[in-house]
């Protein structure tokens, strides 16, 4: 589960400081949450706060009922590696590595045993089993986004955060990606939080909040 309470953040304390305050929410295991907001409303900021990439100015974040605000950067990196899977707006990879190695990289960087079977299984589930030995740039955008979902799932996270996962996809791929995200987080019993401005997704999530 992941929850936020009285969360605020401001960039570069100074004259032109941009401050954000975010609504409280809670997303339990097996639940999904859609956070809708137009550009400039702090969507990515919120996602980075939840992913412990940024430290909030005030307020609290709970992951699996543990308060994480006071953690050191190293501890935060540990929690992120162990519990959080992140899907970014644009699928980015280590270009020199194959699809398979990019998946295994998630295991390696979080100091887990490298689970080839899981990589092959996820590739089958997400429909890119034939591309495991290609370089990532040889894949289409929709395929790349599915690979980045698989990468987020490699460590069996309890929280999946997705930042605009569908904004660069057509309707067909958009449907497919959202379906896969929901299906896979359900299988893991994880919480799925999707941050987007994409109105197409509104009907697909029972719970949603707006920024």
């Amino acid at each position: 589960m992941i929850a936020a309470k009285d969360l605020t953040f401001s960039y570069s304390p100074g004259a032109d400081a941009r401050s954000f305050s975010f609504p409280d929410f809670r997303c339990s295991n097996n639940e999904t949450l859609l956070i809708l907001g137009q550009s400039g409303r702090g969507k990515t900021t919120l996602l980075h706060l939840l992913a412990l990439l940024l430290r909030p100015a005030s307020g609290e974040i709970l992951i699996d009922d543990t308060a994480v605000r006071e953690l050191s950067p190293r501890q935060a990196a540990g929690i992120r590696a162990q519990k959080i899977g992140i899907v970014y707006q644009k699928a980015h990879f280590v270009g020199a590595l194959s699809v398979m190695d990019n998946l295994l990289l998630a295991n390696y960087l979080s100091d887990r045993p490298q689970d080839r079977e899981r990589a092959v299984f996820l590739a089958g589930e997400l429909g890119f089993a034939g591309h495991l030995h290609k370089k990532t740039h040889q894949l289409s955008q929709g395929e790349q986004q599915r690979v980045s979902i698989a990468r987020a799932l490699m460590n069996n996270p309890t929280v999946i955060l997705a930042d605009e996962p569908t904004s660069s996809l057509d309707d067909l791929n958009c449907d497919r990606v959202i379906h896969l995200l929901q299906e896979q987080s359900q299988k893991l019993g994880a919480s799925l939080v999707v941050v987007t401005h994409d109105q197409r997704l509104k009907s697909r999530f029972p719970n949603s909040i707006s920024l």
């Binding site: 990515t44 900021t45 980075h48 992913a51 990439l53 940024l54 190293r74 990196a77 540990g78 992120r80 590696a81 162990q82 992140i86 970014y88 644009k90 980015h92 990879f93 280590v94 270009g95 020199a96 590595l97 190695d101 295994l104 990289l105 998630a106 295991n107 390696y108 960087l109 979080s110 100091d111 490298q114």
Partner: protein, 416 residues
């Protein structure tokens, strides 16, 4: 999947950049390595043959030429001197040994040297098969000569006039091979040794119908030919030069002056002449070494620029890996090992290149001078070279890679 594999994948991913860096390192390191190899081998070859020879006497001319021709058998002899005068040196209290040499003929490019049994003795060359020459027109051949020509004890051959195989042959007088020397690693390996008398007999015999005098290599042969007949009377036996060993070091002070002032001969000190030769070569070697260092520095800059650029391109990748739980020091190590990989490849290729260069050089040296320089062993100095290359790779990679410690993950991820 491990750090090394990622580094390797990155090196492979930018082939041209990596190739350029490795190529520059290869050239720089190869150049230094071949200089080290050549220096060591030339030095070894020169010193080994020099041992126990304190002075060389011969006709007046270039002292370096006298040394090169008499000890190393690589340059033309300076001319002839009278045997009587050479033998008089034996009476000198400073002199311990006098080994007379008579040169001027060859067989298939291998020099025929008339001398006494003391010559192979001096170089510690022992006869392997057969026996040492005893009388005129008998010859004992070095191991390389035997290998190249296929001559065996009992075979006969005719020498050719001059120092290269194209010379006119002494068709009627044949040498008989009596033995083959064991390989000794000295100049004897590439020589055909015979008794001093052979050379006199041969040229006396030819005197009648050939116009060649024993002053074989004098270009101005023609002018002294007229007086040649009278000159080469039995009493006026001539040799090309003689190798002198001193009884005590005082000889080095006294003898050269005595000889140069009071006789028609010149005395040359091998160690002084060889040091002079190395000094002359040294200028060229220093220039090449400086060039190699410059190339290596450029290689370092190339590694630096290549990593710096690729790091700018891969900024997002780095932030991504950090967001996936990678630590900054781990990624720093990964980038360092990219520089390290390039350095090690450059080193290995450079060492191989220098061996290849040495092989080519040795083949031509073998062909022209019968000296083999083919010792491809790893030199201790090359260990230092490896350490230097690694230090360069690490340094060139560390400077741009330190940026990983300043990378703002959130901003980098949000920007793209």
């Amino acid at each position: 999947m491990n750090l090394f594999k990622i580094s390797w994948a990155n090196v492979k991913n930018k082939k041209l950049n990596s190739f350029l860096s490795v190529l520059l390192l290869t050239l720089g390191i190869g150049l230094i390595s071949i200089l080290l190899l050549l220096n060591k081998q030339l030095d070894e070859q020169f010193r080994k043959n020099l041992r126990g020879i304190d002075l060389v006497v011969g006709a007046k001319g270039s002292p370096l030429q006298l040394i090169l021709s008499s000890i190393y058998q690589i340059d033309s002899p300076t001319g002839n001197v009278s045997l009587e005068e050479v033998n008089r040196l034996k009476m000198n209290p400073f002199v311990k040994t006098v080994i007379p040499l008579s040169m001027g003929d060859n067989y298939k490019g291998f020099r025929i040297v008339g001398t006494t049994g003391k010559y192979p003795e001096h170089f510690r060359a022992t006869v392997g098969t057969g026996k040492l020459f005893e009388k005129s027109m008998e010859a004992t051949i070095g191991s390389k000569v035997a290998e190249a020509t296929g001559l065996k004890p009992g075979d006969t051959f005719a020498g050719s006039h001059g120092m290269d195989s194209e010379g006119e042959t002494h068709g009627e007088s044949l040498y008989e091979v009596t033995g083959i020397f064991e390989p000794s690693g000295s100049v004897v390996d590439q020589l055909i040794l015979t008794d001093l008398a052979s050379i006199w007999d041969l040229h006396q015999h030819e005197e009648g119908h050939s116009s060649q005098a024993p002053a074989l290599l004098e270009p101005e042969e023609d002018h002294d030919h007229e007086e040649g007949e009278a000159h080469h009377a039995e009493a006026e036996k001539q040799v090309t030069s003689a190798l002198i060993g001193f009884r005590n070091p005082m000889g080095a002070v006294m003898l050269p002056r005595q000889i140069n002032d009071n006789t028609n001969m010149q005395a040359a000190s091998p160690s002084i002449e060889i040091n002079r030769l190395f000094e002359l070569l040294g200028v060229g070697i220093d220039t090449l070494r400086a060039l190699a260092v410059i190339i290596i520095v450029i290689a370092g800059i190339s590694v630096f620029v290549s990593l710096y650029n690729s790091l700018k391109e891969r900024k997002y990748e780095m932030a991504l890996m950090l967001s996936m739980g990678g630590t900054r020091s781990r990624l720093f190590l990964m980038l360092l090992s990219e520089g390290l990989l390039l350095a090690v490849f450059g080193f290995l290729a450079g060492i191989s290149l220098s061996r290849l260069g040495l092989w080519v050089f040795s083949r031509s040296a073998e062909k022209d001078f019968h000296y083999s320089l083919a010792d491809f062993g790893f030199l201790p100095e090359e260990g230092l070279l490896l350490a230097g290359a690694i230090a360069l790779g690490i340094l060139a990679a560390a400077l741009p890679s330190l940026g990983i410690y300043r990378l703002n993950i959130s901003r980098t991820l949000a920007e793209d």
